[in-house]
């Protein structure tokens, strides 16, 4: 249906009207363009039977709704890749289960954060603030970060429920280097540790009720300190699904570690 292909404006209008009936004022302010530039796309959509003009307001027809819903996935995935194509094409996606990879467009309104040279090993400010105000924290650690045990110790003391999945190598290092902090975290009722020991190394990520931060490895298996951070609802849901996947293939660690 050419109405949707070949035109940014038409596609965006369709998606906008998914929210419901809109007046010309609402459309104009949402698109921040002159009404004149919207007249033609709206007319074309009407002619294709995708939108109806109802007393001056516009809404999607039955077919329009059907198509708009089906435009969402491709629109999302293009939004994801657009502008950061080099970042995404450099990532190693073998770690992500196919069904979640197909839906990776659900990560919305994200930023790629790259720390300053001077702050290379500190977690991002925004991230820390979000962690401290989270109501629950789920994480997969496939990268050992020397500051993290102390950080999560702090968080555990605040009583925040946490489920932490560690890869074998990370678990080992935690036991060697931060035995004390690890012990303290384990003492808390609502923290659970899991061990993941499969061949494919998962991305390192943290998903809470208000933030998603993922460190994807590059195709070469390296970590280039470029992380994806998002606060959007759909991103958080995607992140939780990803966490559930890894949890389902990890085993819970018993009470006594040492």
């Amino acid at each position: 249906m050419n109405a949707i292909w070949f035109s940014d404006k038409r596609r965006k209008l369709l998606l906008f009207l998914l929210e419901g009936r809109k007046s010309p004022e609402e459309i104009k302010s949402a698109f921040r363009v002159s009404w004149r530039s919207l007249i033609l796309p709206l007319k074309e959509l009407k002619e294709e039977g995708l939108i109806i003009n109802h007393n001056g307001s516009y809404e999607l027809s039955g077919i329009g709704k059907m198509l708009a819903e089906n435009v969402k996935p491709i629109d999302r995935i293009l939004n994801l890749f657009e502008g950061n194509t080099d970042y995404w094409t450099e990532r190693n996606f073998k770690e992500i289960p196919q069904y979640l990879l197909d839906r990776i467009g659900e990560i919305e309104n994200y930023t790629i954060i790259e720390p300053d040279l001077n702050k290379m090993f500190e977690p991002p400010e925004r991230f820390l603030r979000s962690l401290h105000t989270s109501r629950h924290i789920n994480a997969v650690f496939s990268i050992y970060h020397p500051l993290y045990p102390a950080l999560y110790c702090q968080l555990a003391k605040k009583g925040i429920p946490m489920s932490l999945i560690l890869t074998e190598p990370v678990l080992q290092r935690m036991c060697e280097d931060c035995k004390e902090e690890t012990e303290i975290i384990r003492q808390f009722q609502n923290t659970t540790f899991f061990c993941y020991n499969h061949e494919i190394v998962p991305p390192s990520f943290v998903i809470t009720d208000n933030i998603l931060l993922i460190s994807f490895f590059t195709k070469g298996g390296r970590y280039d300190h470029r992380d994806v951070m998002s606060f959007a609802k759909s991103s958080l849901e995607w992140g939780e699904h990803l966490f559930d996947h890894y949890r389902s293939i990890s085993h819970e660690l018993p009470e006594l570690l040492f």
């Binding site: 292909w5 039955g62 077919i63």
Partner: protein, 260 residues
């Protein structure tokens, strides 16, 4: 002109078709030219653009999708499928009433797949379509919802109640009463049959009839004026059967079995 990803994917029929070709597997230039019916000169700029956007790989003579390219194509399919379904019978789909279809199933209407539009036959105006009457007896199990009872419907179902292993008949109250009062013989036979269960559907679903069997699905919709114009959809695709089963699943709690 943006050399953005959006532009790359959305704004060219050739590029779109190339991506769709490559989701099926690696191809060399000759295969690409043949499948897309293009010359080398026509397709090379498209290939170059897709490579620049990291959507396809070139290894020797062979072209394939990158992971990103694959993800994009997979996310394009729902829209392409939906467009195809609608375009095949645009007039039909734009004039239907979809009130009875739950929204999550409505946006997946493309799952009817390779469907056929059954149009009313002037020569057989008072009979049920052959596509329906001939296929029901060949089914092992039949699940039907009906708010509209065609005159030959009761005899069709009572006639197969011995040969079909399982029949589940969901009827709205008006349809049920019509069956019981005006087609008593058929009704009795159905009630007595071991294979048949009749359910009384509480709501007045705005749908004339929907049937799913083990091998075909048959969907009747009211037109936008709320009238039944006898234009139906039949499909033999697995995805269509699954869609219909989900439809019945959604309304599962809205009915109660009628016991003798």
């Amino acid at each position: 002109m943006k050399t953005s990803l959006v532009n790359t994917v959305w704004f060219s029929e050739k590029r779109k078709n190339l991506l769709l070709l490559l989701i099926e597997g690696t191809r060399d230039i000759e295969q690409i030219k043949k499948s897309l019916n293009v010359t080398t000169r026509a397709i090379m700029p498209q290939i170059k653009m897709l490579k620049q956007q990291h959507l396809i790989n070139e290894v020797g003579d062979n072209f394939s999708l990158t992971t990103a390219g694959e993800i994009i194509v997979k996310n394009m399919s729902p829209l392409l499928e939906t467009s195809r379904v609608i375009e095949e019978n645009k007039d039909f789909w734009t004039t239907r009433n979809y009130d009875a279809i739950p929204s999550h199933l409505f946006s997946r209407l493309r799952e009817v797949g390779h469907y056929f539009l059954v149009e009313p036959d002037i020569n057989r105006m008072f009979e049920l379509p052959r596509e329906f009457t001939e296929n029901i007896p060949k089914s092992k199990n039949v699940v039907t919802f009906a708010s509209y009872l065609h005159p030959t419907f009761p005899s069709l179902y009572s006639g197969v109640s011995d040969s079909v292993a399982e029949i589940s008949l969901f009827l709205t109250l008006p349809a049920f009463e019509k069956l019981r009062n005006e087609y008593t013989a058929d009704f009795t036979k159905l009630m007595r049959s071991d294979s048949t269960k009749i359910f009384l559907f509480y709501d007045n679903l705005k749908l004339p009839m929907i049937t799913v069997t083990d091998w075909f699905s048959y969907i009747c919709l009211f037109n936008e004026e709320g009238r039944y114009d006898h234009r139906d959809i039949i499909s033999f695709d697995e995805s269509a059967l699954k869609w219909c089963h989900e439809f019945f699943e959604f309304y599962r709690n809205r009915s109660k079995e009628v016991m003798q």
